[in-house]
Symmetry: C2
Subunit: 199 residues, 2 copies
């Protein structure tokens, strides 16, 4: 099938079809899965206690944009969809609500925050980060051009750290907490590559 | 700043600068945040009990590709990074391990699965999905071109459902479970738009 489309890209140097994966591991399915063509990893959903605090954090501190908000008054919850969009991408987002909903659900890397109405005024209410027992979900991760500059700014903004960039064994990556205590990894894509070159 | 670059895109019809967000909500920061330029929502990390089951599920059932695997023998864990890549995108992934690490950490929408060695042989070991108490993380979501076709296939493959597409109040979207019990929303981007038109 690959050969029909663009043989120079989809064959390795030896003329074999491109392998499906870039690593080996038990359980990997090597064949094509045509039924999943067009699938997109669209969203990650976290419950939040107080949308005002979360909007402030994700837009002012983290620099994301609120793309869509969907209210479900009968079920008393609201969904907030945030993304990183540069100005050019933002210029392509549909202004029409219905079209923007479709855009929101079709795009990669949307952060969906769910607010069940009322939790913000319950002083003792808190969500579970997944990093204490019982463990499960770990974190979301934001790639930044300069991890040290990003973390200096987070410190100035009084963001809570789980790990500063040079704490512990793994240097050059940090973990901060969002207003609900969810962990956010702050990483610089080329850090490992740089560290291996200089060591 | 916008005007310097491409005025026809970055101004509204009335000539005002494009608003930062597409919705209004308390807490939203309206000004630009130049310090976060280049930030990317790179990853979502979930802990998994048994990598062989998870690799089979995410590559055979969900159709993702394993892009990078990083072993940390001193700390006895392995990280698996999966993504949806079409053949053209896959052809652009660096073959060199160090470059592929940088690629992995710079791209949107990577699913990171963490395996702490040994959990797979502990019969009673289980991770927490975040949807039972204590709640927190909700789900990841995969957009598919046809939610009914996708779910018929998942049924054939004996995938466990939390909600079939037409169960409950919200029609046309489903939730399935991954091997650890994490919820995966299966959604069709234009479903809400279609339903509103036809109602």
């Amino acid at each position: 099938m690959y050969a029909d489309i663009e043989p120079e890209i989809f064959k390795t140097k030896k003329g074999n079809p491109m392998p499906k994966h870039f690593e080996q591991a038990p359980g990997l399915h090597e064949g094509p899965v045509p039924e999943t063509e067009g699938y997109v990893f669209n969203q990650t959903m976290l419950r939040i206690k107080d949308p005002e605090r979360s909007m402030d954090f994700y837009t002012r501190v983290m620099g994301m944009r609120l793309v869509r908000k969907l209210d479900f008054p009968e079920m008393k919850f609201t969904l907030y969809f945030l993304a990183y969009l540069d100005d050019r991408q933002a210029g392509l987002v549909p202004a029409d609500d219905a079209h923007r909903t479709t855009y929101t659900f079709g795009r990669e890397a949307m952060l969906e925050l769910t607010h069940n109405w009322g939790t913000e005024s319950d002083r003792d209410f808190a969500y579970h980060s997944g990093n204490e027992e019982p463990q499960g979900f770990g974190h979301i991760g934001i790639a930044v051009p300069d991890v040290y500059a990003a973390c200096e700014r987070f410190e100035d903004l009084k963001v809570e750290f789980v790990k500063k960039p040079d704490d512990g064994k793994m240097k050059g990556l940090a973990f901060i907490k969002d207003p609900d205590g969810y962990w956010i990894e702050i990483l610089q894509p080329d850090m490992l590559e740089k560290q291996r070159k200089s060591s």
